[in-house]
Symmetry: C2
Amino acid sequence: MIPPPPRPLPHATVARLPDYLRILADLANVGEDTVSSGRLADLAGVNAAKVRKDLSHLGSYGTRGVGYEVSVLLDQVREALGLTAARAVVVVGAGNLGRALAGYGGFEERGFPVRALVDADPAKIGTVVGPLDVRHADDLPALAVELDLRVGVIAVPSSTAQDAADRLVAAGVHALLNFAPALLSTPAHVAVRRVDLALELQVLSYYERQLRLAAPDTLSTS
Amino acid sequence: MIPPPPRPLPHATVARLPDYLRILADLANVGEDTVSSGRLADLAGVNAAKVRKDLSHLGSYGTRGVGYEVSVLLDQVREALGLTAARAVVVVGAGNLGRALAGYGGFEERGFPVRALVDADPAKIGTVVGPLDVRHADDLPALAVELDLRVGVIAVPSSTAQDAADRLVAAGVHALLNFAPALLSTPAHVAVRRVDLALELQVLSYYERQLRLAAPDTLSTS
DNA sequence: CCCAGCTTGTGAGCCTGTGCACAAGCTCCC
DNA sequence: GGGAGCTTGTGCACAGGCTCACAAGCTGGG
């Protein structure tokens, strides 16, 4: 009955746990009962020792000589990430990106159902996106309570991203995924993560050139 | 006339350069001539010493007592990232996410115009998304040459992500941005970067709970 | 019962990245 | 000309993360 002590996990480990989670779910689906750190490592594309150390951080005990039990590990990783219950998501911004994210099936599949889509532009209110209709951003506080919204996805232009964040925080949403290329200022108890798609392309661009200049031309034969 | 020596930058620096680039572009737009590391650091949300060390890596010389000249720095960061010319992007997968990414204005703005959208599903061929019409994935080799495609965005389900990657590589596209939650195997000279949106939500979920358990309740006054 | 063969969990060393603090150097004003 | 006031560039020490290598421990067969 003791609520599990909130042990802090290394950042690098936290970033890998969702990968393990997905792989374990796949393994469970094909009926695998146990898995070794070596196999997990292959599937995740990392070092086997790293897998073992990651798993040891969450107190997970495998069995020497055998490996880990898939179902047990699944539960432990879910618990460590705090994914025991689904968390309702609200998307702010019904533009191109916002509508796509709201309709993207990949979220619900992994425990994050999108339950609301809001915008500040009156012209967009009431338009329908899949099973959702666009609501006004002013309704956020009411929606947050009614739908138990836990995560806010910010898909508005940079210029209004801070405003969107403020509204979400005021409505009691304390986990924000920000797609705008801007720095948000939020209270200390709010978790923010930024995803900048153009940034990814720019970084990619750098490494592509590095590889091109390093290894001259390996022509792919058609 | 010597092509600039391909000095390898620290990964952490590469990841921050696009942020500096965006901030510098904004500063240039509002007519700022010079900027100090301190100001850049504030705008980027990082430590000033880190900014200076990052910039020193690309041989950029500021002026002591004054700061950096915005226009010069802009050019240097662009050059370091290999963004001297626009790079044409092809999106593979005309589903929900693919169509949104193809229509997302944020790419073109930052030097990555989406010039093609392909899919393997015959039912989708010919449908129109903004200024693009969906082409068949078999046309990739021809399109790659015709449009000088440099970057491939993979927006297909995990099950076909590897196939999409293979087709792109075969067509001569050596920079891949993968939105599918799957590990791709590619030749050594191909740069791959993965963006997993559900993973971001899961990581966010972890930190949100950490913060909640650490600092009980700081109610935002409305 | 005992041994061979795996697999986990972890200690040790290394490497990358961070932040501090300071010398070097530029500019402007008196 | 000289000095005050900034700001850059960097040496240094530290923290976090990664990999190796190995002891501890389980299982199954003879």
